[in-house]
Structure formats: C-alpha cells, structure tokens
C-alpha cells in the first residue's frame, strides 16, 4: 500500500479507502452511546449538516474550479422547499426531503446556464447575485414564506411510533449521519470516476480538455447539479430538525463559515471539508465562553491558516505524513 501511495500521489486504492471510510463512520455511529446529553449530540448533528454542505461545495469549487458563490442558496432552497412542501402542499416529510434535493438540483441547473460563458470573478458575481435574487424572492412572497419573520412550526420527520423529540436527539443523529454517509460515498465515487477526472481536467487545462472532446457545458452542468442534490437534502433536514426557516441561511456570515470550512480543509479532497466542518463546529463550541470575541478569533484563525497553509488542514496532514516518513527512513 505504501509503494502504491508514493507512485500515484493522492490516490489510495478504493479498497483501502472504503475500509477507512467504513471505519470512520463506524466510530461516528458509536458516538451516541458515549455522548448521551442532547446538547452535545446537537453539536454533532450540526457538524454533520455543515460537513454535507461544505463537502458538496468542494465538488464545484475545488474539483470543478467553478467559483460558485450561490452554494448556500442551494442549501436555502432546500430549507424552504421542504418547509413549503410539507406545510402548504401537505407532502409526506420523507418524500419532501428527497424532493427538496431535486428542487435544489433543478435550481443549480438553472444557475449554470448564465455562467457557462463566464470565468473566474464573473462567476462569483453572478452566483452571488443569484443567491440574493432567491433571498429577495422569498422575502417578497411573505404570504407563503413568512418573509423576514421566517417559517415556523415546520413538520418534523417521523419514524413509525418512535418519538423523535423525547429521545435526546438519538434518531436525528443517525438520520444526519446517514445523509452525510450517503453524500460522502456519492461524492467520492463521482470524483474517482471518469466523469470526475474530466471535471478536474477542465479545471486544470480547459483548452486541452475541450480539444480532447470533453464537453464544457455538459460537465459544468453535471458538476453543479451533482453538488446540489445532497446540499438540498441537508437543507431540508435542517428545516425538519430546527422546525423553522429564515432567510439567515442566505446571509454572508453562514457563507463565510462554510466557505472557510472548504478552504481550511483543503480543496479537492472532500474529506478535508468534512474534517474542517467538525473542527470548526466543535472549535466554535469550545469558544462559546469568549462571547463576542468568538467571531474575531475565528476570523483570525482563518486568515492565519490561509496565509501559512494555503492547502489547508489536508495540506498540514500531508506535510506531517511526509516528515514522519522522512524520519522513518533515517
């Protein structure tokens, strides 16, 4: 395995990777038996949701190289799609959860159309504009969405006769974990596939990739659409879990936090974004005592890591592993 690692850097054989992922998720699945208070479980559930959103963003931002700043809008669309479907249309919560993912996917395809001809900073501006547009639409339709007041008493998920509210968030923990698991497996399968390779090829050398017959239009639509589904599902789950929805999800502060998860974790790894989501969410909890200083410390941390370790936490791990191996050889 070691030789394999060195000959093709960054590529672990799929058997090893599957074993590692299975082990990691098995550990996570055992956590509720150790951590019994519902507040700590709540923190973990939020970490799972952020991990889904951040790792899916890594697909479009890191692998695709598409500066999609409307990613949080896809999350918000999931939140509101679930809320509207369960509240107004009376659709079954579980069906609404899946449908919300589909709605986000469609929204992602719609936003891809104007950015097909654009590059770099212009993509940031249009996708940013798209997010604001969605927020304005939600605000203006206050009869359905509650406008600035938000939506309250959104229907929760259900499990036969199990009481979801009085079990110390036991069931919610596993639903969130299952969404994260499904999303991670999906993302890793995608980026390891031929499609994933062609997405990276387009990012690294567009002219060459296009000349070799890769369709920019098709791959970009696939990238954005694929990154949207589980983001939308995570949004829907968030709505069901919190039981309310507000336009805060479109705000700059949440986008900054999730984006820093993607970049702190190191782009184009998927696992980096997930790891950074855990680290940042738990870090934010530890610093709860600092009150108003918390965002200041977080911002400083982000700047320092970006300046010192541009490749993020994944980069720190890689260089640590390299230096460890060097010491082994001596």
């Amino acid at each position: 395995m070691k030789a394999d690692l060195r000959s093709t850097p960054g590529r672990v054989s799929w058997k090893n990777e599957a074993a590692l992922v299975a082990a990691a998720f098995a550990v996570l699945a055992l956590l509720p038996f150790v951590i019994t208070d519902s507040y700590s479980r709540h923190i973990l559930i939020m970490a799972f949701i952020y991990a889904v959103v951040a790792s899916n963003w890594d697909l479009s931002l890191g692998y695709g190289g598409v500066f999609n700043f409307g990613h949080l809008a896809l999350f918000g669309i999931g939140v509101y799609a679930y809320g509207l479907m369960t509240k107004l249309a009376g659709i079954d919560p579980w069906l609404a959860l899946a449908l919300s993912g589909a709605v986000s996917t469609i929204a992602a395809i719609v936003v891809t159309i104007p950015i097909l001809r654009l590059k770099g900073i212009y993509i940031i501006l249009v996708t940013f504009g798209f997010a604001q547009l969605v927020m304005q639409l939600i605000l203006s339709q206050s009869d359905y969405t509650g406008g600035t007041q938000g939506m309250v008493r959104i229907q929760t998920l259900y499990l036969a006769s199990h009481n979801m509210i009085r079990d110390g968030k036991f069931a919610y923990f596993y639903i969130a974990l299952a969404i994260l698991f499904a999303s991670t497996v999906f993302l890793r399968l995608l980026v390891r596939s031929k499609t994933g390779a062609s997405i990276v090829a387009l990012r690294d050398n567009e002219e060459y990739a296009v000349s070799r017959g890769i369709s920019l239009v098709r791959q970009r639509v696939i990238t954005l659409a694929a990154s949207a589904f589980f983001t939308g599902v995570a949004g829907a789950f968030y709505a069901a879990y919190q039981r309310n929805a507000s336009v805060d999800v479109f705000g700059m502060s949440l986008a900054t936090i999730i984006l820093s998860m993607v970049l702190l974790g190191g782009t184009s790894t998927i696992y980096g974004a997930i790891g950074a989501s855990f680290v940042l969410t738990i870090f934010a909890e530890i610093m709860a005592d600092f009150g108003a200083w918390r965002p200041i410390i977080t911002a400083l941390l982000i700047i320092v890591v970006m300046l010192v370790y541009p490749s993020g936490l994944a980069g720190i791990c890689t260089s640590a592993r390299a230096s460890w191996r060097r010491r082994q050889e001596i």
Partner: protein, 291 residues
C-alpha cells in the same frame, strides 16, 4: 413633473454613493486582479472613525481629511496583511475572497466591541433643507451630489495626468512590464488599496449623515457596488462611474413605480440577464477582466 424631479434627484444621489464605492472596487480589481470583499467594512469603519473624531468635537473640515487619511492607512495595512502575502499563488482570486471576508468579519466584530451596538449618526455636511422647483431636499444630499463629481474628477486627473497615477495604470495593464521599467509594484498595490479605502470612508461619511450607522451598514453598499462594477465592466474606472449613475436612476425609477421591495430583485434579474448577453460589462472592452 414632480415624479420626474424626484427620480432625477434620487438617481443622482444614489448614483453618487454607488460611484464612490464602485471606483474603489474597480481600482483594486484592475491593479491587483483581486476582489476586495472588505470594501463595505472599510466604508463602515470610515463612518465610525469620523464619528469618533467629531465626538472629540473636531470641526468637519478637519474630520473629513483626517478620516480619509486614517482609512488610507487602514487600507494599506489590509493589503499588506491579507493580500500581499498571497500574490503569486495560483488560486489567489479565491483565497483573497476568503481572507478579505474574514478580515471583514474581524473588523465588523471589532467595531461592535469598541463602539457598541447602539446606532449613531454623523453630523450632516451642510445643515438645513431647501426647495428646488417645489421638491424638498436636504442640503446634505445636495452637497453629496455636488462633491462626488469633483472627487471622481480629481481621481480621473490623478490617474491620467500624474506620474504616480500613470504608474498605477501601467501596473493594471501589464504587471511584468511595469516591473521591468522599475516601478515599485508592491507599493502601488498598497496605494490602490489606500485610495479605495479613503474613497469608501468618504462614502461612509456621506451615508452616516443621513442614515443611522451600524456595524453592518456596509453590506448593502458593497452589494450595490458589486452590481455596479459588473454592469460597468471591471477593466476601467470610467465604466463603473457611468454604471453607478445608471443604476442609481434605475433604482430610483423602480422604487418609484414598483416599490422598494421589488427593486433589488429587479436589479439582480437585469444583472444576470446582462451578464448572459454581454459578460464584459456595458462599457467594458474585451481586455483583461474575463480571466
């Protein structure tokens, strides 16, 4: 007549504020090729610095230049701390977005700590109200409408007629060649940020005079400035200025006929449409910019 005057007046007023913000963004983009997401926070900080200075009962003619000078220094510092170390990295556009966003969050929360959450208001530039053809307007707003073209004109003269300004434009056009002829490119980067921050501070003083100040007051002007630079094209200074007034009028017309609620949505719809048709901006030539 009344409606037309109100739209004309509102458009000029909003356009002045947008222009003041947007030229700073465009200046930084053309010289360094990065987008400064702390531009809105610079505006907010400028307003708070001015408030602090006038709270020490300094007169306005000292407060204005002093604030701009202090903020120019802050702009320079911002550039030196979160932008300059990243120059040369392959993904600089993206990384600068996150570092400037983080810096914005840092400054915003810092201001909240120092000056507290209570809303403040700056003194107006000129007190009183007046009537123009039957429409009541405040002297403060008239002052803004008149001062802005002077400042922007001065900036234009600086960029086109002085050695330093020409050096700044040279860096914007060709960085490697500028280095070859011996221009101090890093200093010019700092200068671009300093000018942008000073102009943002001035916009902040304008805004603090007719609206309550809060640590988040810069968010909306930043958003509008983003729209303006996309409209005007990022590759020049004059494009965003025209676009600023155009959008000022568009907003004035929209909010008059469709109401304040629909204006942002309409604005963004027009923006996205426009980018699909002419991505290099309304006044932009197909030069730098698109990459």
């Amino acid at each position: 007549m009344d409606a037309a005057l109100q739209i004309l007046f509102g458009g000029l007023f909003q356009g002045s504020l947008f222009a003041m913000m947007a030229v700073g963004l465009a200046l930084i983009w053309t010289t360094i090729g990065v987008f400064n997401f702390s531009h809105g926070v610079m505006m907010m900080l400028g307003a708070y610095v001015a408030w602090q200075l006038s709270d020490w009962s300094l007169p306005l003619f000292i407060v204005l230049p002093a604030t701009m000078l202090i903020m120019a220094g802050v702009g320079w510092l911002l550039q030196a701390s979160v932008v300059r170390p990243l120059i040369g990295r392959p993904n600089i556009v993206l990384v600068v977005v996150i570092t400037t966003l983080a810096a914005a969050s840092l400054i915003e929360n810092g201001v909240l700590e120092v000056w507290g959450p209570r809303s403040k208001q700056l003194p107006t530039l000129i007190e009183g109200n007046t009537q123009i053809l039957g429409v009541g307007v405040s002297m403060h707003q008239i002052a803004i409408i008149l001062i802005t073209p002077v400042i922007l004109g001065a900036l234009w003269l600086f960029l086109n007629r002085t050695r330093l300004g020409l050096a700044l434009r040279a860096v914007a056009q060709n960085e490697d060649a500028s280095l070859l002829v011996g221009l101090n490119v890093t200093a010019l980067y700092g200068l671009a940020f300093a000018i942008a921050a000073a102009l943002a501070a001035l916009a902040g003083i304008f805004m603090g005079g007719y609206r309550f100040m809060s640590p988040v007051m810069g968010a909306d002007p930043l958003l509008k400035a983003l729209i303006v630079v996309v409209f005007g094209g990022l590759s020049s200074i004059s494009g965003p200025i025209f676009a600023a007034y155009l959008i000022g009028f568009f907003e004035a017309i929209c909010s008059y006929y469709f109401g304040l609620y629909w204006t942002p949505a309409l604005l963004f719809a027009v923006l996205i449409l426009m980018l699909m048709i002419k991505p290099e901006g309304l006044f932009g030539a197909k030069t730098r910019g698109l990459a």
